[in-house]
């Protein structure tokens, strides 16, 4: 199976091209990819710090997976659909979600779930694999309506064990729904290594169960990810059915800020190795520098710009209007039912003057 599904690579860890890309990825595009990866990484590190400082809640970092997320999200068109998990905010931001929203989400604010008006970006999916049938359905609906929008759905290696993975892929295959199933195989579902998650050696091979395309790419190679996703989206739009992409990658850090990866892997050693040899950001940088389109000055400017952007988002998050108790009762239904209205009054009165009411 590993032979049937070799790991496709376009850019070697050393930053050398192994394939022609000119027809697909312009120099400009490559620089844009790089910028997104760097901005996302800076965002991610800042978020981990914010969590440590108690300024946001538990946070799920993605550092190490930037190429997988940025490369795939950049392959989307304007009117497509993006279904992310709790770890895919790099993809979300690359596709158009604001940093402020992402931070609000991690601060426990439902308002952080709302995407910009002109983009179909669903909120982070917490219950594993449940987004997979949604993506199949949204994609299928586009096809029914004669639109050419496609859906891109993210999930992890662990998610492939859930029934919804299977049901979603089967539905999509039967209806040739224009959807791309994008699995970031980062080797772990929290502490459980992929070797305990499944007996199969690849995730891509699971496509065979549904007679759909299966592709395995180096998830730290942004070019390979971009090209595979783009091709898959094209096939999808042409009515040639869904694709399962396995992007082989690694998360450098903890599962979430509540997790301690030293419990289940040789964290320091592994992280060091990966950072030194396979880092997705450095890899692209080497290439860009070799191409003469990137230099230290540009790098410094980019970092400055990114930090400012992140800083601004943090500030927006922190000055966002406080959560109001009354809000908890909004948007449960289009119109409040009588008992929700009653409870809203109860909660608000409690909030307003608990002592007074209580003593009344």
């Amino acid at each position: 199976m590993e032979k049937l599904f070799p790991i496709e690579q376009v850019l070697s860890p050393e930053g050398e091209l192994k394939k022609e890309i000119d027809s697909v990825i312009s120099g400009e595009k490559a620089v844009a990819m790089y910028k997104w990866m760097v901005i996302n990484r800076i965002f991610d590190r800042k978020s981990v710090t914010l969590q440590r400082q108690g300024r946001i809640g538990t946070y799920a970092p993605f550092e190490g997976q930037e190429a997988a997320q940025v490369g795939s999200a950049l392959a989307l068109q304007e009117n497509d659909w993006l279904f992310p998990t709790y770890r895919d905010h790099a993809a979300m931001m690359t596709y158009g979600q604001s940093m402020t929203q992402v931070l609000l989400y991690w601060k426990g604010r439902i308002e952080g779930c709302v995407p910009p008006e002109d983009k179909h970006i669903l909120p982070p999916y917490v219950p594993i694999a449940t987004q997979i049938p949604h993506a199949a359905g949204a994609a299928w609906a586009s096809r029914m309506k004669g639109e050419d929008a496609a859906a891109l759905v993210y999930f992890g290696d662990g998610a492939t064990s859930e029934g919804d993975f299977h049901e979603g892929l089967n539905f999509a295959s039967v209806y040739d729904a224009p959807v791309v199933f994008f699995c970031q195989n980062n080797g772990y579902a929290i502490s459980v290594p992929v070797t305990k998650q499944m007996k199969s050696k690849t995730i891509a091979q699971k496509a065979l169960a549904y007679d759909i395309e299966g592709v395995r790419v180096d998830g730290n190679d942004v070019f390979a990810v971009y090209m595979a996703t783009r091709e898959a989206l094209e096939r999808a739009r042409k009515g040639e059915g869904p694709t399962l992409i396995e992007a082989v990658t690694y998360r450098y850090g903890a599962h979430t800020t509540a997790d301690d990866p030293r419990k289940y892997r040789e964290q320091e050693k592994e992280e060091k190795l990966r950072r030194e040899k396979y880092d997705p950001v450095d890899r692209l940088k080497r290439y860009l520098v070799a191409q003469g389109v990137w230099d230290d000055q540009k790098e410094a400017a980019l970092i400055k710009e990114a930090e400012e952007k992140v800083q601004k988002a943090v500030q927006e998050m922190e000055t966002f209007r406080p959560a109001s108790v009354a809000d908890m009762f909004e948007h449960i239904f289009a119109e409040k039912t009588w008992n929700i209205e009653q409870q809203q009054r109860e909660a608000v009165s409690m909030e307003e003057k608990p002592e007074e009411r209580e003593l009344a």
């Binding site: 995407p115 199949a136 299928w140 609906a141 919804d164 909004e330 449960i332 239904f333 289009a334």
Partner: protein, 327 residues
């Protein structure tokens, strides 16, 4: 013009009306296409509306409901058939974690205006798990409405309302009543509003609350008690279990001071408990006797040889009325 229709025919009509009227409406489910559904609720609809609107799905309830959510996000109005309520369980996560929450989670940016229709309840000598009545589980889940018709007329009007409702509706169709009676049902479109109970019979002495299959049982018991004992009853068909019709219930309880609740579901944790709690909240000191619950028992619905013993019948409801009246 009104034809005499069974409930299942009336339900078919409701879907037909909406399929004709609104392009966004699609039907999905197991065997609903060429087979017309195992109870024929979708009979003829594939032929009339084609495979893009009436879709035979693979056998996977989570897949069906989950895919329908995706379609709803993208502007369609899926009306999903789950073959029996006892088979919604594999799709339960999609209902609880998504169908009911999309609107809240996206602050109204997306919503899931879908209907999940499913035959429910015992009484047709079905195999195991074909007779479940776990409506209280859905009543407990914030974000979905729960509707149970008990007549052909209501079934059509309520289903049209449910499809038009901007929020997801769990629409429970009492299997036993699919073909139990025919009733005049207007052709074309009309609605019965969600959230309103129906006063089936008016009386003075006792309030009987019921829904679905239990409505005719409650009614017969009320008639019997009136004949035999001269006690008259308000018989109220709740029709919508969430949000239920508080005014109708409260007024009746204030009038009679005696209440019998009849449901097929297991007693412990059934919707009856919530109704008792509502009465506790709003009309406790009107009560002249404890509220009686005449319900299915706290055992899995048995194989069909014992089905009749499981389901409340006229005798059991009558006993409940007697106990309440003679308390």
């Amino acid at each position: 013009m009104a034809d005499k229709l069974t409930m299942v025919q009336a339900i078919q009509q409701a879907m037909k009306v909406k399929l004709q009227e609104d392009d966004r409406v699609i039907l999905m489910g197991e065997d609903i296409g060429v087979n017309g559904g195992v109870f024929r609720a979708t009979d003829g609809l594939l032929a009339e509306f084609g495979e893009q609107r009436v879709i035979d799905t693979p056998l996977a309830e989570s897949g069906i409901i989950g895919t329908a959510v995706g379609m709803a996000l993208n502007g369609l109005i899926p009306v999903v058939e789950i073959q029996f309520l006892g088979f919604i369980y594999p799709g339960f996560e999609q209902v609880v974690s998504h169908v009911s929450r999309i609107r809240m989670r996206t602050q109204g940016r997306y919503h899931a205006p879908m209907v999940i229709r499913t035959p429910y309840g015992a009484g047709i000598r079905g195999p195991e798990l074909h007779s479940e009545s776990v409506e209280s589980i859905f009543v407990h889940i914030p974000g979905v409405k729960v509707v149970v018709p008990s007549t052909p007329y209501d079934a059509k009007g309520l289903l049209i309302s449910a499809i038009e409702d901007p929020d997801p509706v769990i629409f429970l169709e009492p299997t036993k009543m699919y073909r139990a009676e025919k009733q005049e049902v207007p052709e074309g479109k009309y609605t019965v509003p969600l959230g309103q109970a129906r006063m089936v019979r008016e009386g003075e002495d006792v309030t009987v609350l019921a829904w679905g299959t239990m409505v005719p049982v409650a009614l017969q018991a009320a008639r019997k008690m009136e004949q035999e004992r001269g006690w008259s009853a308000d018989v109220i068909d709740l029709r919508t279990l969430y949000p239920f019709d508080r005014e109708t219930i409260r007024q009746s309880v204030e009038k009679t001071g005696r209440v019998v609740i009849v449901h097929e579901a297991h007693r412990t944790g059934g919707v009856g408990a919530e109704l008792i709690s509502f009465i506790n909240d709003e009309a406790l000191f009107y009560l002249k006797a404890p509220i009686a619950r005449i319900t299915g028992y706290d055992v899995p619905v048995p194989q069909f040889s014992l089905e009749d013993a499981y389901m409340p019948d006229v005798d059991r409801v009558s006993r409940g009325i007697v106990d309440t009246m003679q308390y």
